[in-house]
């Protein structure tokens, strides 16, 4: 359950960053407008629904898993030395919590647009009558505090996926000796690339590269 819901969310996160990159082509308003129309709106709303279900199941089972595992190992050693467990792997529940908090902020900010109503995209259409997502995003990320918050949020996401991608493949029984190291390294690489891609948006706006 953790693996399957996690993998769906990874697909969403990949699609989401690719969509966001229309901002670098100056086409994010057209992209946002496109998502509101047939047939893309069907894809948008069905994936959003599945995403919502996935988030709940993943969080629910994740917390149960953590509690069960804590119970199974009540005492630790005076000296603990990990030989293979990564920091990312051991802090899954915390990076997950960070993502959840960030997600709530992100939804309030760019989806419900209540954090900065002055530049809310749906309330302020551009010259072509489309929601002005560009002005909203650029206006937000020119404030260092918000840009920093997003970088921290996607750092949590990167950390979570650093362990999560390969872990989900293993839990689905898709590994053997030959594939395991490849899957581990690919999972780490994807998580780093996703983090860099996401973080690049607020950073480039803050640095004035993207206006």
């Amino acid at each position: 359950m953790m693996a399957v819901t996690g993998q769906f969310m990874i697909l969403y996160v990949i699609a989401h960053v690719l969509g966001n990159y229309t901002i670098f082509a100056g086409a994010i308003n057209a992209y946002a407008e496109g998502l509101r129309h047939w047939p893309y709106t069907i894809i948008l709303w069905s994936s959003r629904t599945l995403l919502l279900i996935s988030v709940f199941l993943h969080t629910w089972y994740g917390i149960i898993l953590k509690l069960e595992n804590r119970k199974a190992k009540p005492e630790t050693y005076a000296l603990t030395r990990y030989r293979s467990a990564s920091l990312a792997g051991r802090t899954m529940v915390w990076s997950g919590l960070l993502i959840a908090l960030f997600l709530i902020f992100h939804l309030l900010h760019f989806t419900f647009q209540v954090i900065e109503p002055g530049i809310a995209a749906t309330a302020h259409p551009d010259a072509l009558g489309r929601p002005d997502v560009l002005t909203m995003v650029v206006g937000s990320f020119q404030r260092a505090g918000i840009a920093a918050l997003y970088v921290v949020g996607v750092l949590g996401l990167g950390l979570h996926l650093y362990h999560g991608i390969e872990s989900s493949i293993q839990t689905e029984g898709l590994n053997n000796d030959r594939t395991l190291p490849v899957v581990v390294r690919t999972g780490m690489a994807i998580s780093v690339v996703l983090f860099l891609m996401y973080a690049a948006i607020p950073v480039s706006i803050l640095m004035g590269i993207l206006k």
Binding site: E68, A72, T80, S167, G173, N175
Partner: protein, 247 residues
Amino acid sequence: MNLTLYVWRQEDRNDKGRLVQYEARDISRDVSFLEMLDIVNEGLVKKGDDPISFDSDCREGICGMCGQVVNGVAHGPRKKTTVCQLHMRHFKDGDTLYIEPFRARAFPVIKDLIVDRTAMEKIIESGGYISVHTGGVPDGNAVLIAKRDADAAMDAAECIGCGACIAACPNGSAMLFTAAKVSHLAMLPQGRIEAGSRVCVMTEEMLKQGFGNCSNHYECEAVCPKGIKVRFIAKLYREFIKAKGNL
């Protein structure tokens, strides 16, 4: 060589237990880790103190009886080595060693470094066997088994059931142990027949015994004295999915 030891001492199951400092003097580089503890114990007995209790049997690294956590690592710092086959030449003069029992909720401490590993037996009892009649010893090559399968089954069968995987797991999970047993039998024709029911009852028993869940840290593989691979855990998942699909 001289060493400072901090050894876990615990009277019985109900005792709280604590680390006690001991000095190990004039230890030869060539003695094993357990022989070093024997020497310390001789000193304790001479003084009229209670010797440190620990498990051991064959002292050849094949029986799975011994096992302690040395400086935070089950079976100590050497890879693919049981603590009885760990020699003092792998330590330095003046080293400080923390010696603790295997820890997990399913492994209650009986005394000092001895833990009760009955929970592992319960997993085997639940389904780690073959109940079909296999007849007498078959003639060589009468039952053909692919070399690849035979090798993989032997790799899984290497598990000596010491419990280091459980001790090392941050979740106290018995997944590697159970996976080795499930895989070993599932890869041979005699064990294949009950493979589906076996994987279901053994994993169920594992959770019932209070072991945790696998979250893929692979600490188990890192400490396993027999080098059992986590590929068998993936195999267990495959067997489980297959079995549930058939229900």
